[in-house]
């Protein structure tokens, strides 16, 4: 039987679908009786997507201009 710590330690293989059937049964049995861990799994799963959104950055136009000029100067001499 898994406790909270065992369950949280197993989240990565669980979400990657790489858990043994036996461990998956243990995890599911724990989650069935532990609402805080269910909430934890939801928020753990949501973390990557939120971070991806927060960290998206576009290239500023002036940097794009410099990139073009750099590539042209390098490639035209080839």
């Amino acid at each position: 039987m898994f406790n909270c710590k065992d369950s949280i330690d197993a989240l990565l293989p669980f979400l990657d679908g790489e858990m043994s059937p036996e461990d998956e049964e243990h995890l599911k049995a724990h989650l069935n009786g532990c609402p805080p861990c269910v909430e934890f799994v939801r928020s753990y799963r949501a973390t990557s997507g939120l971070c991806r959104k927060a960290l998206v950055k576009s290239m500023p136009p002036e940097v794009a201009g410099r990139l073009r000029a750099f590539l042209r100067s390098k490639l035209e001499t080839k």
């Binding site: 710590k5 939801r42 973390t47 991806r52 990139l67 490639l75």
Partner: protein, 199 residues
């Protein structure tokens, strides 16, 4: 990336491989935002990100003839950018801190969660617009991760590279990649949880 985009990339790539500079510039147009974004996230410096982007596209052009098109052009150039950014970080890094304590959930002696997550913020992950304050909190928490954890998290969860690719690039085993990823996610989850508990 859509099938149409990949198909268009292939057409442009074929022309670029035949020496058409405008086709290569069109490929740069399509992929520069992603490459620059990756470089900026990894290096945390606009100047370094601009240089990594330049080096990446120059290197891509120099190796165009070797690119056979088994992978999408975007994935190929993304891997070149990740390698360039990692090399730059390595050069700058004086001390590779990997054993630092990271925030994570606390447990009782019996292994139960010491504190239940209170705020149900996971559903907000689907919102199209991210709260600016939250964005800053996430940026700060990501920057605060020890370097060995930060780079693995960014390469896997933000850039979408495979465990195998990251293991090869970073020079650690796949189990070590997974361990660092898990601990980084836990630390970032804690930071987001703390943000929602404060607001």
């Amino acid at each position: 990336m859509t099938d149409t985009t990949v198909q268009d990339d292939r057409t442009l790539l074929a022309r670029a491989q035949g020496g058409d500079m405008s086709a290569f510039e069109a490929l740069v147009d399509r992929h520069e935002d992603k490459v620059y974004g990756l470089a900026l996230r990894m290096t945390r410096s606009e100047a370094d990100a601009a240089e990594v982007t330049q080096d990446t596209f120059l290197s891509a052009y120099q190796h165009l003839a070797e690119f056979r098109g088994e992978a999408a052009f975007g994935s190929w150039v993304h891997r070149i950018a990740a390698n360039n950014a990692l090399m730059r970080l390595r050069r700058q890094r004086v001390l590779d801190i990997v054993g630092e304590e990271l925030a994570g959930p606390e447990f009782t002696e019996r292994g139960s969660l010491a504190e239940a997550p209170e705020a149900d913020w996971s559903r907000r992950a689907d919102d199209k617009i991210l709260d600016e304050e939250l964005g800053r909190a996430i940026q700060g928490a990501t920057d605060a991760l020890p370097e060995g954890y930060r780079e693995v998290f960014l390469l896997k969860d933000v850039e979408g590279l495979s465990y195998e690719e990251i293991s090869e690039m970073v020079g650690i085993s796949i189990p070590a990649v997974k361990s660092r990823l898990h601990r980084a996610r836990l630390a970032l989850r804690e930071a987001i949880d703390a943000f929602y508990k404060e607001v």
